[in-house]
Amino acid sequence: MSIATLTQNEGAFTTKSQKDADVITVRFSGEVDLESIDALQRILIGAHEIALAEHAKQVIIDLTQLEFMNSSGVKHFVTWLRSASQLPDATSYKIRLVASKTIPWQKRSLAALRTFAVSIVSIVHEDGAEA
C-alpha cells in the first residue's frame, strides 16, 4: 500500500495525503456520512498500515476542512486509536489531530476520542495551538 492510496474522492468526502520523512499527513474535506463511511474506514486502516510498514513516527489527520462526521465515523476513529495505542514501543507512532476553531463539533468529538489513546494523541488547532 502506498501513500497515494490515502488520497481519495468519495462524493462529498475527499482526502489528500503526503509523506515527509517519517510523518504521514492526511487532509480531510467535506462530510463523512453513510455514503462515505467506507472510504473513511479505508483511509484510517490504510494510514495505520502505512505507518507500520514505513516506520512512521507520526500520523497527522487534518480535519480543519471536515464539516461533519456521523457516529459511524466516530466509531472508526475509536477503532483506529485503540489499535494504535496498543502497539509496542518499537512500532508505536504518535497521532496529531488538527481541529478547526470554527467547526464546533470537532472540539466535542475529538475530546471524547482522545480518551482512548491519551498517551499518543494530541489535538491542536490549525495555528498549532493546543486545542
Binding site: A12, E35, K75, T102, W105, L113
Partner: protein
C-alpha cells in the same frame, strides 16, 4: 391548533435513503440558523437531526419517516424538539427499548457514551452510538414512545434567550 402556539415549526415526511439524510441535514441547518444565532447550537441541532434520521433509515420497516421540528417560545428561552416517527419491526423496537433502558440507567452521560464508543469499535454493523452521542455531545435529552408498530424518538433542548432570535 397546537402549531399556533409555536414560534416556528417544520415537518417533513419522506422516504429516507442514505443520500437524503445529509441533504435534509443541510436543509434543516438553514432553518436552525434562522432561529438560533449561535453556530455551536445550530451545529448540535443539525447533528442530532442527522443521527435521528440515520437511525430512521436503519430501523424503518417501510422506509418512510416523519421528521418534525418544533420551536416553542417560553419567555426569553426557546424549547426545541426534534422528532422522528417511523414504523419499525418488533425486533428493532426491542433493540431501541434496550438501548434507551441502558441509557436511562446510566448515572453519567459521558461515561455511558465512552462505554458505547468502546463497544462500537468491535461492532461490524452500525455504530450503536447515535443515542449516546446526542446525549453526551449535543447535551440533549432523548425519549422514545412505541404505539403499535410506530416508533417515535424525541430529542429536546432549551436554547438560552441570549442566542434565540
Amino acid at each position: 391548533m397546537k402549531q399556533d402556539k409555536l414560534a416556528a415549526y417544520f415537518e417533513l415526511r419522506f422516504r429516507p435513503n442514505v443520500e437524503l439524510v445529509s441533504v435534509v441535514r443541510r436543509f434543516v441547518s438553514a432553518f436552525y440558523e434562522r432561529i438560533v444565532h449561535d453556530l455551536d447550537v445550530t451545529e448540535r441541532l443539525a447533528m442530532v437531526t442527522h443521527e435521528l434520521l440515520e437511525n430512521a433509515v436503519k430501523y424503518s420497516s417501510d422506509g418512510e419517516t416523519l421528521l418534525s421540528i418544533e420551536v416553542e417560545q417560553v419567555g426569553g428561552p426557546r424549547n426545541v424538539l426534534v422528532r422522528t416517527k417511523n414504523r419499525t419491526t418488533a425486533e428493532n423496537r426491542k433493540i431501541v427499548t434496550e438501548a434507551f433502558n441502558e441509557a436511562n440507567a446510566a448515572k453519567d452521560t459521558f461515561s455511558h457514551y465512552q462505554e458505547l464508543m468502546k463497544r462500537a469499535s468491535t461492532r461490524t454493523e452500525g455504530s450503536g452510538l447515535g443515542l449516546g452521542r446526542i446525549r453526551a455531545e449535543a447535551d440533549m435529552s432523548v425519549a422514545y414512545a412505541i404505539d403499535g408498530e410506530e416508533l417515535t424518538v424525541d430529542a429536546r433542548t432549551t436554547i438560552p434567550a441570549a442566542v434565540a432570535s
